[in-house]
């Protein structure tokens, strides 16, 4: 059931990324909502669901965002890989994992998106801009992820089965 809700929510977040996020500019950068959303989803719901959401998000942003089609999709691919790493990890600190992969994915998103846009024929300006923007965007994404994680966890987190108590 939750999975079916995730698709329209992903569409909504993608549209928010295009229509709203640029208005929320702090220190010259705005949050990458779709990165935060997918990273949190990947940690809370697992890699498999995230793998299905990534092409939806990437293509919607590519179609509506005025960027080369495929740039966002390519830049979001690391989210699946890092979600898989977190899923395979025995560590229990899901919150810290979400924050960590959000930071990493945010930086990767900035650079991969820039490279893909360049490959798609877009101009980017001085490369130094990327070095200046990426850490700030990552910091903002981290703060946003901190605010988003627990509400998302409460709303969409997997519940432990009742039978598991008996096994213990």
């Amino acid at each position: 059931m939750i999975w079916y809700a995730s698709v329209p929510l992903t569409l909504l977040i993608a549209l928010l990324q295009i229509g709203a996020a640029p208005s929320f500019s702090f220190f010259g950068v705005h949050p990458d909502l779709i990165v935060i959303w997918l990273c949190c989803w990947g940690v809370i719901r697992g890699r498999q669901e995230t793998m299905a959401l990534i092409p939806i998000a990437g293509l919607v942003i590519g179609l509506a965002g005025g960027e080369p089609l495929g740039a966002s999709l390519l830049a979001l691919l690391p989210v699946a890989a890092l979600a898989a790493v977190v899923e395979a990890s025995p560590a229990r600190g899901r919150f810290l994992a979400a924050i960590a992969i959000t930071g990493i994915c945010s930086i990767l998103y900035t650079f991969i998106h820039a490279g893909a846009s360049l490959a798609g024929g877009e101009g980017l300006g001085p490369p130094l801009n990327l070095v200046l923007v990426a850490p700030r965007a990552a910091a903002l994404d981290l703060i946003t992820a901190v605010l988003w994680f627990w509400p998302l966890r409460l709303a969409f987190g997997r519940r432990a089965r009742a039978g598991s108590f008996r096994r213990i």
Binding site: L15, G19, A20, S23, L63, P68, L69, A71, L73, L74
Partner: protein, 276 residues
């Protein structure tokens, strides 16, 4: 789950992304993007319209102090400019009045005038008098004639002080001016009435005075030059057996709006003593 499935997915996505990039590069993706934009752009635009005010508040909330100061500065600046604008308007109005009065001096090329400003009014309800800022130091003497815009008669100086002078307006109930209806040459006496009005009295019987006739000073008695504009007839009342008609005259200059006047310093009324 085996390792092959994520790898397949990753390779598929990579190929999809690269293909999309390639299509974008050569422009082949444009038709698809155009179709999608018809659906997605209004949605994104709607979201932007809804969230923009929130974003504006959130992103500026940290600047509250500076915004407050800027607001105060702008308020002060606005206040200063408003004051400046009002001063300029006032100067313009004053200049216009002075120009009008200068025009009045052209009507009497042989006379000398002293420009004066009205600085006070008689507070009494039964007198119509104003205080002007020119007095004996400026050549103003008791009995001198005061005129306004278009050379209209305003009154006479009845008390000249060193730096100021009181002027009794023609609308003062104690004021009498020998007047004349310009159209019919009918003579009479203009007397002031309560409520800043004038009345033309002692007009000879059988004289045809009509509303809108112009009333000027007749020059009789030597207290006023001949031909000074006094006002316009507004009402003529009288029954066949009345000895005199009641003729109301509206003064050419509204006494309540007087700001600047001209004192005829070269005209010596007959009641002004020589050497005074």
């Amino acid at each position: 789950m085996s390792l092959s499935r994520p790898l397949t997915w990753t390779l598929s996505m990579l190929l999809l992304a690269l293909a999309a990039l390639g299509l974008s590069r050569v422009g082949a993706a444009n038709p698809v993007v155009s179709v999608a934009a018809r659906v997605l752009d209004p949605l994104a635009g709607g979201i932007h319209a809804v969230t923009a005010p929130v974003a504006d508040f959130v992103t500026n909330v940290g600047d509250y102090g500076s915004l407050r100061k800027e607001n105060q500065d702008l308020h002060d600046e606005n206040q200063r400019l408003s004051t400046q604008l009002n001063q300029l308007r006032e100067q313009q109005a004053q200049q216009q009045q002075v120009n009008d009065l200068n025009g009045a001096t052209q009507l009497f090329p042989n006379q000398d005038f002293a420009l004066a400003s009205v600085i006070a009014r008689d507070p009494s309800n039964v007198r119509d008098a104003v205080l002007i800022d020119k007095g004996t130091n400026d050549g103003v003497r008791t009995g001198m004639v005061v005129v306004g815009k278009d050379g209209a008669l305003i009154g006479t100086v009845y008390r000249a002080l060193a730096g100021s002078a009181w002027v009794r307006l023609i609308t003062d109930p104690d004021s009498d001016v020998n007047g004349m209806v310009q159209e019919t040459r009918a003579m009479g006496t203009i007397t002031g009435q309560l409520g800043h009005k004038l009345q033309l009295q002692f007009v000879a019987e059988g004289t045809d005075v009509k509303p809108d006739d112009t009333v000027v000073s007749s020059g009789l008695g030597g207290n006023y030059p001949k031909g000074l504009l006094i006002g316009r007839v507004t009402k003529v009342e009288g029954k066949p057996l009345d000895v005199q008609e009641k003729i109301e005259v509206e003064p050419a200059v509204r006494p309540t709006t007087l700001e600047n006047v001209l004192v005829m310093t070269s005209f010596v009324p007959s009641r002004v003593d020589a050497g005074q």
